[in-house]
Symmetry: C2
Subunit: 155 residues, 2 copies
């Protein structure tokens, strides 16, 4: 059972995800900005993730490449608009296969009783773009990636 709350209200153009992780927020924040940690949790388990760039500062680029077992590669990238440790990341997200399609993600890290509540709010250019993302199985993928993060933090 997923512990990830995933909300995509009808008629809106955002997805809001929330989850509590049993770790201090400095550790959770670090997992988002550490090139060694990213391949261990970002994305689905059946793909290998390679960190090409990860520059968590205003104007910095991130670019991750996912590779499947046949060697096909899928690249994602974006720009950090803010990386304010340990509380907030604002960045864009693009799949390189769909240029011009961009989403804006705001990730908040809040500490509550030694645990960390992470809220990730993704806004899309249009409602249609958001609905298209939902049809690709975004909810399942998001839950899996946060399950992986939870496992990493439990080590």
């Amino acid at each position: 059972m997923s512990k990830t709350s995933f909300v995509a209200e009808p008629g809106r153009q955002e997805i809001v995800m929330e989850r509590r992780f049993a770790a201090p927020r400095a550790r959770v924040f670090a997992a988002y900005t550490d090139p060694v940690a990213i391949p261990r949790w970002w994305g689905p388990r059946f793909l290998t993730t390679i960190v090409d760039r990860l520059e968590p500062r205003q104007g910095g680029i991130w670019r991750f490449v996912q590779r499947d077992r046949s060697g096909n590669e899928y690249a994602f990238r974006g720009v950090f608009h803010e990386s304010l440790a340990p509380q907030r990341i604002v960045r864009t997200f693009e799949f390189e296969g769909m240029p011009g399609h961009v989403l804006l993600e705001t990730v908040l890290f809040e500490e509550e009783d030694g645990q960390t509540k992470v809220t990730a709010r993704s806004v899309f250019q249009t409602q249609e773009a958001r609905d298209g993302m939902l049809q690709t199985g975004a909810e399942h993928g998001a839950a899996e990636t946060w399950d992986r993060l939870d496992e990493l933090l439990a080590e």
Copy 2:
């Protein structure tokens, strides 16, 4: 009377503006990406706009500084995520006085009978952020800046 359509539907987190300009779209697009043209139309008339950076390519930075008569400066910046002449610009927009507050703007340029329809869609991190922008007089400011662009294109 403004010829700018400005739509901010209740309960949503976007502003959609639209206007027809009496010029071919290559000229309208160029006005958006030309550092000489920008100070002549971008922003309200009572401020002086200085182009600090304008790099219309994926990952390129833009930064404009507005100066009032007392010498106070207000800086705006963002990142180009796409600049596909003459049809589409995707970029972010930030006021440097409010770090972490970012909007994502998609500008479409469509030619119709020798005129150009420009559609600018700005999406905000939250509905509250959009509503806050509306309260600053965004509609008046946007109409004025497009009036100025219209005048420039008519020269």
